[in-house]
Symmetry: C2
Subunit: 194 residues, 2 copies
DNA sequence: CTCGAAAATTGCACGTCATGCATCGATGCA
DNA sequence: TGCATCGATGCATGACGTGCAATTTTCGAG
């Protein structure tokens, strides 16, 4: 399946190098002050080539988030088919956040200038998740339910993640809050009133 | 309340003029091909002044969406306190979409280059809606429930709106789909399986 | 191994974007 | 009327993003 030659591997490596350089520079100088020129120099690559990989500085920085979202969807697809959608989602989230780079995430999530691009990443992943949900349920990807389910679940997890990153807490707390929110969605917002 | 002098009124008018000019030009030439210079010229003001009102071309174009979101929150706050949150939200949505400019909305929603900024607008309004919900329920705006409720409800309505704009349908259909989705959230995603 | 096609890298030019700064002008108030 | 504040504008500047063409690298067939 998808045998990758050296060419593809090098491209992947360059892409990762650019992404890491962007995050490293952002951590050192602040997201706002990083320029494409710096990222390219740090990776020892022409500025023009940078734009062959990413269409903007912001896209490079949120690439880590995009990768996590992809991992989430893959983990979701790996869950047993008989598992209910929201439970499968909950388990997938637990596995992905267990191995995530919290510092990088916090950097990205806290940067106001990255908010639009980050949300755009989530939005594009919404469609992929909706398809995965439709597959699992044997529905059409055009149905309303998979779309709403994917969108609201991703949103709920985004809210939890943002709140968690704002307060110093451990991974157990994150998992706990995730389960609480997923439970809320499953049982209905009307019922979950505190 | 909030008496506005001529100064403020002129600023508001200029802002609206810029927004309208941006949309008009986008409708005529396509979103991608509109420049700040054109918008400024159309409104007969200096380019530099444009940036006193909007920090980017995209922000000007999604201003209409921002206004609708604000209207939604205002309408929500106007609903009677004894009404359940999701029902109040549903009624507020119905009232706002009844008077919305569908052509402008479709233009904005369909433009890929506006997606990030549009989502950012929703995200900022999330907080305001969460506060309104917290007020209504007598909870703290820092509680998890208002945040999740606001975020997921806005997201669900965004999904419905996007789907509706993609297919030619009338306002009754939009209202119907809105109610269906709100019902789904209220009853729980687990229950609503078709 | 060699060669030619395909693909990736790079430099260059160009238009646009966005902001800081200084200045000018208009507005509103005492 | 005179002054103080706020908005509008021009200018300069650095960064962004893309099309294009040249150059180098990679890959596979012979």
């Amino acid at each position: 399946m998808t045998v990758v030659g050296r060419r593809e591997r090098k491209k992947l490596a360059t892409r990762a190098a650019l992404r890491d350089a962007a995050l490293r520079l952002a951590l050192r100088h602040g997201v706002e002050h990083v320029t494409v020129e710096q990222i390219a120099a740090e990776t020892d690559i022409a500025v023009r080539t940078f734009f062959n990989y990413f269409s903007s500085k912001e896209e490079a920085m949120v690439a880590a988030v995009a990768a996590e979202a992809d991992a989430l969807i893959a983990a979701f697809r790996d869950r047993p088919r008989e598992e209910p959608v929201l439970r499968a989602l909950r388990e997938a989230v637990a596995r992905v956040i267990a191995v995530s780079d919290t510092d990088a995430l916090r950097l990205i999530v806290r940067a106001p200038s990255l908010l639009p691009q980050r949300l755009a990443v989530y939005a594009t992943r919404e469609k992929a998740l909706a398809e995965a949900i439709a597959d699992r349920l044997g529905l059409s990807p055009d149905d309303l339910y998979p779309a709403v389910c994917a969108a609201t679940a991703l949103t709920a997890m985004r809210v939890v993640l943002e709140r968690w990153l704002d307060r110093p807490a451990d991974h157990a707390a994150l998992r706990e809050q995730t389960e609480e929110v997923i439970g809320l969605l499953a049982a209905g917002l009307e019922r979950g009133l505190p």
